[in-house]
Structures are given as structure tokens and as C-alpha cells.
């Protein structure tokens, strides 16, 4: 149990490191999927298999596919990779690494200082328990989540619109200026 | 209700001026003139019919009494009410406001030709705010008007002012003025609130009322801090020297009407504030602070005078002389004897007239010469008709020539303060010499010396002549027969003096010295 946790935790960390250091978007995405699956394993190891399953299905499945889709669609070429390599000079990543390192150390120090003692037994919490909460007292929250998704949907569909009469807008602009002056 | 109308009339008149511009350029001017005449008439009516020989504070500490009072609840949450009251001091200053308001309208008759309506809106709102300051005895209301009147003044300077040399733009001057006064005003607000909460802790009730707050017991330290809050706000506006920076710029860059109002009335609100609030609310702290205040007054006298000597811009010179004169006022206020306090009133009135006169003169010079730079003047005596005569008169008034009201003001302050603080008075007397130096330097640079041209400029027209003559007459009148004025403010000043003397470590100290 514990071994599974630590092992998959290690994998998750390494894969994530790969995500943020990789220069190729597709490779990075693959690393991210690995990381997410590792986290899903962590969930299972901790006794939340429902969450693990969702992690794989929603995160690694749906969201990452969306990412891959977009990356493919945009047809990010080698120039992007070259550019990424250029942007990833030590001068650029050193500062952020130090900063997040300090943040990490601080967080760990806080976790260390805090009262631990609680141990995760790995007892399984079933989907049923989760569901009865969600559709019980948290009903409102679920509805709100629906609204949230609606808002996201509308936003994405509006913002993602590519066929736009940009040309005509551009043409009319000088007219408006003329009126003003 | 009359008191409320005194405040409302200028505000309403201002709006009318704004809208009156539709009926031509002259309409706002006449409306403004009518409005100010109305204010002055009401004030003079009150003066005539009111009784200002009031019984002063009796030994039991009976509340201060007013000739007229008007009160209506405003913000009950904090015990704030619209509480207006009139006594001799406020009456005199309101009358002054009305009079200088008329002058301000008159002297901008030809000077302001753009956006006349909006100009008079601002002008009248300043005056309305000032009247409010002089009438309010609810501290919140007082602060309200105190801050409010800055806005139209800001516009007046920023929109109709003149830009000076060396990047002294009018907007910069206006902004400086606004920030100085507003920031210091906030300090006063903090002090007011400190006082209110101290009173709350004591009585359990919110109140911003003057009479109530006067009864608040304060610890020495707290009283000193609160007093300082008030003092700084007033000191900025008076102005007292380290805090005077806004004044020369604002005065120099403002249009004539603005300078007249600034020097004539706005500076007086500060002295009024000290007399009405800083001293009576914190007599002990004020008493303890008096040596510092007088020191600052001395500094102001000398600093203002020295700087006045170095100015090339006519209006800046006059502005610095104001600083110097206000040093006397400060000394008088903190000397706190009856004679000195009455002298303060006298000097305030006199300085209002003489500074207004000088600013109008410089405005008229500007209209004719299109410069305020004294290096481009000189030898004007024979080229300007009767204008040099009037400038001579107001210069003489400003240097404290006997016979003018300024002389009486300064002398009363010095006579009144001498028994308490002889050395301060001796040093302040040096200011009389410096006053002569800067005043005559003005004459020398403007009117004496070789003429820089042959042509004659337009003589004063009837409107200008009448204005100057009225001012001259008033300066002389109060210089030779000031008793009606002194009788009016006597009761109010006696109260201040008694409050101040009630604690009087200073006067006993002085007596011990003898």
C-alpha cells in the first residue's frame, strides 16, 4: 500500500518535472498524462478509487485529449520547439526555480511544524458515499457546478469563434474616427 | 433660518450664474454681483439689528451663547446636526466675505471673458463654502465646508489662472494648493474624530457639537495630539512657515478674483479656526504649545519678509508678504490677551483689505502691461493715471503705516503680547522694518526708476476707481475709527481670552519674571 503510494508519488513528481522542462508540447502532454495516471494511482493507494477513476477518465482522458487536440490542430511545428529551447535558458528558469524551491521548502516546513499524527489507513471510501453527499446536502453545489460548466461552455464557444468579420470591422474603424474628428 | 440662507444664497446664485450664461456674458456677472450684494446686505442687517454685546462666559462655565442659532438633525447616527450659529466674530468675517465677494466679481468683470458662467459658479461656491465655515459650529459640518470650498478654488486657479515662469503652471499651483490643504484637513478630521471618540468614551453618546465637545475631559497627551491635528490644518491654510509652500504659487497663479479671495478670506478661515476651535477646545494644550506657535509666527514674519524681497513676480511678492503678516496673527492668537486677540481680528480685516487692494492693483497692472514680472516694469508712476497712487496707499497699508487698519492690528497684537512675551514682541517688531523693506522694494521696482516706454496706459475706469476708493476708504475708516468693529467682536474675543487664561501658566510665568 505504502509502497504503491511512494512509488507512484515519485513517478508523478518526475513526470511533472518532465512536463515543465520539456520543450515539445506533445511530449510534455504525454508526460502530463503519465503524471496524472500516477496521481490516480496515488488516489487508489490512499483509498479513493472513485477519485482515481475519475482522474483517469476526466483528467487524463477528457482534458488531456482536448489539449492534444488543440496542439494537433494548431500544428505546432519544429520552430516552436526551437523557440521553446531558446526560452528555456538558465537565465530564465533559474529565478523561478529558486522561487518555487523556497515556496516548496516553506510549505514542507509548515507541514513539518504542524501537528501530523493522522495516518491514512487506506480504507476505501466508495462512490456511493460521495454520491450521497453530492446529491444530498451538496445538491446546490452540483447545480452551481452545472451553471459553471454552462458559463464555461458559452465563454469557450464565444471566444473560440474564428470566423469573424474582422475585415469589415477594420474597414469601418477609420470611418468612425473620421466622424469623431 | 437666516443663517441657512446666508449659506444657500451663494450656492443657488452660483447655479443661476452657470445657467445664466445662456442669456449672454453679462448675465452671470450681474447675477453674481446681486447675490453677493444680497449676502452683504443680510449681514449688515444682522449687524445693525443684532446685539453682539453678549454676556461672556461666566465663572460657572455657562455655555457659550450666540446671537443667532439654527439647528437641525443631519446624521443622527453620529449625533451630527446642521448647527449654525452667529456671534460677533463670525459676523465680521461674513461681512468681509460678502464685501470681498463683491470686489472679486467686480475685479473679474473684464479679466474673465471665457466661460463666464462657470467662473462665477466657482467663485460663488467658494464664498458659500467660506460662509459655511464661519457659521458652522458642528465640527463635522465645519469640516464639510472646510474641505468643500477647496474644489471650486481649485478650478478657479486651474482654469482661469495665469501660468508663471519656470514651469510654475497654474494647474500645478492649484494641485499643490489642493493637496496641501486637503491632506492637512484630513489630519483635522482625525483630530475631530479623536475628540468625538474621547467624548463618546466619556458620555456614551456620539456628538460633534461644539458646546458638547468643549466639555470633554482629555488627558494632557491626547489633548496635545488632537490640538496638533487642528493646528496643522489651520497652519497650512494660515499659512505658518514650514507649511506655506502652496501659498505663493496659488496666489501668483490665480486670477485676480481668486487671489483676492485667497488672501482676503481663505487665509482668514484658518485664523478663525484657531480662534473658534483650536484654542477653546484645547486651552491647556494650546497654552503649552503657545511658545512653539509664537516661534513659528516669528519664523513666518522673517521668512516671508525675506522671501518677499527676493521675488520678481509681483503677485508672488504680495503672497509672501501675506505669510509675513500672518506671522503676526499667529503670535497674537497664541498670546491670547484680549488686546492681542482683538488685534488679530483687526489685522485680519485690515490684511483682507490691503491684500485685496494689492492684488487688484496687480491685476489691473497685468491687464495693462500683460506681465507680472517686475523686471519689465519700473518708472510706471507717471504712466498709469491714479493707479500708482492706490498702489502706494496699499503698500503703505501693508507696511503698517499708522492711520491704516493694518497699523492698528499689528500694534494691538504687539501691545497685547508684550507683557507676556517681551522678547517675542521685540523680535516681531523687527518684522516692521522688513515690512518696510519689501513694501518699498515693490514701489521701487514697479513705479520708480527710469520708465521703460513713453506711452501712457489707460487710467482706471469708473468701476476700478470706485473699487479702489472704497477699499481705501475702508482701510482708513478702520484705521481711524475701529471701535464699532472691536465692539462687535469684543464679546467673542473675551470668551476666547478667558478660556485661554483659565489655564495660563504663561502669563503667570511672565509675571514671575518681572
Amino acid at each position: 500500500m505504502e509502497i504503491a503510494f511512494y512509488l507512484s508519488g515519485l513517478v508523478a513528481v518526475l513526470a511533472t518535472l518532465g512536463v515543465i522542462t520539456n520543450t515539445n508540447p506533445v511530449h510534455a502532454l504525454l508526460y502530463l498524462i503519465v503524471s496524472l495516471i500516477a496521481v490516480a494511482l496515488v488516489f487508489c493507494a490512499l483509498g479513493a478509487p472513485f477519485a482515481g477513476a475519475l482522474e483517469v477518465i476526466v483528467y487524463a482522458g477528457a482534458i488531456m485529449v482536448l489539449f492534444v487536440f488543440v496542439v494537433m490542430m494548431l500544428n505546432l511545428s519544429d520552430t516552436v520547439e526551437a523557440q521553446e529551447r531558446a526560452w528555456l535558458k538558465p537565465r530564465i528558469w533559474l529565478g523561478p526555480s529558486v522561487l518555487s524551491g523556497v515556496l516548496l521548502l516553506t510549505l514542507i516546513a509548515i507541514l513539518w511544524l504542524g501537528d501530523g499524527g493522522r495516518v491514512i489507513e487506506g480504507e476505501t471510501l466508495t462512490a456511493k458515499a460521495v454520491g450521497s453527499i453530492l446529491f444530498g446536502p451538496w445538491l446546490l453545489v452540483v447545480e452551481l457546478a452545472a451553471m459553471l460548466l454552462l458559463a464555461a461552455l458559452v465563454t469557450a464557444s464565444h471566444v473560440g469563434r474564428l470566423s469573424s468579420p474582422a475585415g469589415s470591422a477594420g474597414r469601418r474603424e477609420p470611418d468612425a474616427r473620421k466622424e469623431a474628428s | 433660518m437666516t443663517l441657512l440662507w446666508l449659506i444657500l444664497i451663494p450656492f443657488i446664485g452660483g447655479l443661476l450664474c452657470w445657467q445664466g450664461e445662456r442669456f449672454g456674458e453679462q448675465a452671470p456677472r450681474w447675477i453674481a454681483l446681486g447675490t453677493m450684494l444680497m449676502v452683504l446686505a443680510i449681514t449688515l442687517g444682522l449687524w445693525f439689528y443684532g446685539d453682539y454685546h453678549l454676556p461672556s462666559l461666566d465663572p460657572q462655565g455657562e455655555a457659550v451663547r450666540w446671537t443667532m442659532e439654527w439647528q437641525v438633525a443631519w446624521i443622527p447616527r453620529f449625533g451630527i446636526s446642521i448647527h449654525l450659529a452667529l456671534d460677533g466674530l463670525s459676523l465680521v468675517l461674513i461681512a468681509l466675505t460678502g464685501f470681498l465677494g463683491i470686489l472679486a466679481v467686480l475685479c473679474s468683470w473684464h479679466e474673465i471673458v471665457h466661460r463666464v458662467g462657470f467662473f462665477h459658479l466657482n467663485l460663488l461656491w467658494i464664498l458659500g463654502g467660506v460662509v459655511g465655515v464661519f457659521l458652522a459650529i458642528d465640527l463635522f459640518l465645519f469640516f464639510f465646508f472646510w474641505e468643500m470650498m477647496l474644489v471650486p478654488m481649485y478650478f478657479l486657479i486651474a482654469l482661469w489662472g495665469h501660468s508663471g515662469s519656470k514651469g510654475r503652471t497654474r494647474i500645478r499651483a492649484a494641485t499643490k494648493f489642493f493637496i496641501y490643504t486637503q491632506a492637512s484637513g484630513l489630519l483635522m478630521l482625525v483630530s475631530i474624530l479623536g475628540l468625538v471618540f474621547a467624548n463618546l468614551a466619556h458620555t456614551g453618546e456620539y456628538s460633534f457639537d461644539y458646546a458638547t465637545l468643549m466639555q470633554t475631559p482629555l488627558s494632557d497627551g491626547l489633548a496635545m495630539w488632537l490640538m496638533l491635528g487642528f493646528f496643522i490644518a489651520f497652519a497650512v491654510k494660515l499659512p505658518v512657515v514650514p507649511l506655506h509652500g502652496w501659498l505663493p504659487d496659488a496666489h501668483a497663479q490665480a486670477p485676480t478674483a481668486g487671489s483676492v479671495d485667497l488672501a482676503g478670506i481663505l487665509l482668514k478661515t484658518a485664523a478663525y479656526g484657531m480662534l473658534r476651535f483650536a484654542l477653546p477646545l484645547f486651552p491647556e494644550a494650546s497654552q503649552a504649545f503657545a511658545p512653539v506657535a509664537m516661534g513659528l509666527g516669528l519664523l513666518g514674519i522673517y521668512y516671508g519678509a525675506l522671501l518677499a524681497c527676493g521675488q520678481q513676480d509681483l503677485k508672488r511678492l504680495i503672497a509672501y508678504t501675506s505669510i509675513s503678516h500672518m506671522g503676526f496673527v499667529l503670535i497674537g492668537i497664541y498670546a491670547g490677551t484680549e488686546l492681542a486677540l482683538q488685534g488679530v481680528v483687526m489685522l485680519m480685516v485690515a490684511h483682507a483689505f490691503s491684500a485685496a487692494g494689492l492684488f487688484i492693483v496687480s491685476g489691473q497692472l497685468y491687464e495693462r502691461l500683460h506681465t507680472r514680472d517686475m523686471r519689465e516694469m519700473g518708472g510706471l508712476w507717471g504712466r498709469l493715471g491714479s493707479l500708482p497712487g492706490f498702489s502706494l496707499f496699499f503698500v503703505a497699508a501693508s507696511l503698517g503705516m499708522p492711520g491704516t487698519a493694518n497699523f492698528l492690528g499689528e500694534m494691538m497684537i504687539l501691545f497685547g503680547a508684550f507683557p507676556l512675551v517681551p522678547w517675542v514682541v521685540v523680535l516681531a517688531s523687527g518684522g516692521l522694518l522688513l515690512a518696510a523693506i519689501y513694501s518699498l522694494l515693490l514701489m521701487q521696482r514697479v513705479h520708480f526708476g527710469p520708465p521703460q516706454g513713453k506711452e501712457h496706459f489707460a487710467d482706471l475706469d469708473r468701476r476700478e476707481y470706485l473699487m479702489m476708493l472704497t477699499l481705501t476708504g475702508l482701510v482708513l475708516l478702520f484705521g481711524l475709527y475701529p471701535q464699532p468693529l472691536l465692539d462687535t467682536t469684543g464679546a467673542a474675543m473675551l470668551e476666547v481670552q478667558q478660556l485661554f487664561e483659565g489655564v495660563a501658566p504663561l502669563s503667570s510665568l511672565a509675571k514671575g519674571n518681572q
Partner: protein, 102 residues
């Protein structure tokens, strides 16, 4: 002894969180920026799961669900913006859009 101390779970979450931040800060390509955001959200979700399992409560997983919802929504909107950016300016550099400062 069996079981993982809660701190360890939280430390794992912290590491992922910090890595996410590092990615956010040092990457200019918006694809990577969005991925970093996903990592950070995922780290937070992990922390909830850890808390939930440690207390033996389903609330942790319920929160996880909400977070994952958000992540999905965020990703979709983010990608839509990314497409728009690429479409208009042929770049994915977030700072390339930088027109405003001062």
C-alpha cells in the same frame, strides 16, 4: 504499521503545486502555461483527497470532483483563448500579446 502519514500525502501535493508554479512562471508558451495550471489544480485536488481519506470523509472526494470540474472548464476556456490568440497573432507567447504596461 500500515498507512501513509498525512504529511507525506500533503508533501507530495506541495511538490506538485510548487512544480506547477515553477512551470507557470518560467514558461512563455501558453500551452505549457495551461498545463502548469492543470498541475496546480491537480495538486490542490490531491491535497483534498489526502485530507478526505485521512479523516475518512467523502467530502474530500466531493471537493475533488468540483476541482476537476473547474479544471475542465478552465482548460476549455483557456484553450479557446489560446486558439483565438494563435489565430490572430500566430503566436502562443503569452507575453507577445503584451500591449499594456506602465
Amino acid at each position: 504499521m500500515s498507512g501513509v502519514p498525512m504529511e507525506h500525502g500533503l508533501v507530495l501535493a506541495s511538490i506538485l503545486f510548487a512544480l506547477g508554479i515553477a512551470g507557470l512562471i518560467c514558461r512563455r508558451n501558453m500551452v505549457f502555461v495551461l498545463m502548469s495550471l492543470e498541475i496546480m489544480l491537480n495538486a490542490a485536488a490531491l491535497a483534498f483527497i489526502v485530507g478526505g481519506t485521512a479523516w475518512g470523509q467523502p467530502e474530500g472526494q466531493a471537493m475533488f470532483l468540483l476541482v476537476i470540474t473547474l479544471a475542465a472548464a478552465e482548460a476549455s476556456v483557456g484553450l479557446a483563448l489560446l486558439i483565438q490568440l494563435h489565430h490572430r497573432y500566430k503566436t502562443l507567447d503569452v507575453d507577445a500579446a503584451n500591449r499594456m504596461h506602465g
